[in-house]
Symmetry: C2
Subunit: 150 residues, 2 copies
DNA sequence: CTCTAAATAGGAACCATTCCGATTAAAGAA
DNA sequence: TTCTTTAATCGGAATGGTTCCTATTTAGAG
């Protein structure tokens, strides 16, 4: 269930390209923070990314990780999911998708649904404002945690 | 657009009843924290509630506000909306409803949609786990902020 | 009224994130 | 390549929301 070599390569290429066109310096730190996400499926938080990248870039600072994640998000290279209150969780999968969040272990699983991608927004909402994004979050026990409970 | 006197009274009655059946002491502090929400439509955060209630209960502590909000949520008297990372926002409107969140001013507006209340969950999700709750969040510019921008 | 478990006050602690000032280094120019 | 500019980084302090802790108070049962 890992991200394929080909997909990782595609993402790294897009990263390099975005740095160029966006006028961003392709620093060692920036590259390694993105590489961490390019191969991840676990929606890691900033602290987790920090700990992993530090193995490769021992002197990297937390601030750089946070700053870099914000930059990558601005550039549309990663997606920040506001899962529960507290830590943001990051994802380099930029396809339109949704999240199933386990209330026991906190794991975040992607799922796809063209129907949910394009929800019927009631007319009453247009009086409130112009909708720019929609997000569907499902919560429940994941199969793993359900098994453990028995 | 304020909550009607009748509705507030209904909510306060439910509060009293829930305290009784739930074995909760109806303390002055508890009552005033709930009263604050019973009449609110702005999804205030804990700090806002604290500042308002303090006018009536000058010695109340932040801890009590936080603890009370958690208790009220457990008892199903209020709903905690995880809006953006950071502050939780509270609501005594327990009817099934959804939120439109303005990305500029942060205001949270309720809206209703029977369709969104009962979303079609794709079969693929059942492999991930058992869904216990669903949440739809819409984000965008509210009409007020859109006006200001011009 | 008395008693006791539940609830509170106030402040310390905690934790994720951001800020800041000094230092480093990417990348365009020469 | 070397020089220069300025974006980016580092490390630690600061911030802000929330929770924890302990002594004290109090609602409500008996
Ligand atoms: Mn995802
Ligand atoms: Mn609401
Ligand atoms: Zn789980
Ligand atoms: Zn607004």
């Amino acid at each position: 269930m890992a991200v394929s070599k080909a997909e990782i390569e595609r993402r790294m290429k897009r990263f390099a390209e975005t740095c160029r066109t966006g006028g961003l310096k392709t620093t060692h730190q920036r590259m390694e923070v993105f590489r961490e996400l390019a191969g991840a499926e676990t929606h890691p938080d900033a602290e987790t990314i920090y700990r992993h990248v530090r193995r490769r870039v021992p002197a990297i600072s937390r601030d750089t990780v946070y700053r870099t994640l914000a930059t990558l998000e601005e550039q549309g290279l990663v997606h920040k999911a506001e899962i529960v209150s507290g830590r943001g969780r990051y994802d380099a999968n930029m396809e339109h998708h949704h999240h199933f969040i386990c209330t026991a272990c906190g794991r975040v699983h992607d799922f796809y649904s063209p129907t949910l991608d394009d929800l019927p927004i009631p007319k009453s909402v247009s009086a409130l404002g112009r909708v720019e994004s929609t997000q569907v979050q499902l919560r429940g026990l994941c199969t793993n945690c359900a098994k453990d409970k028995r």
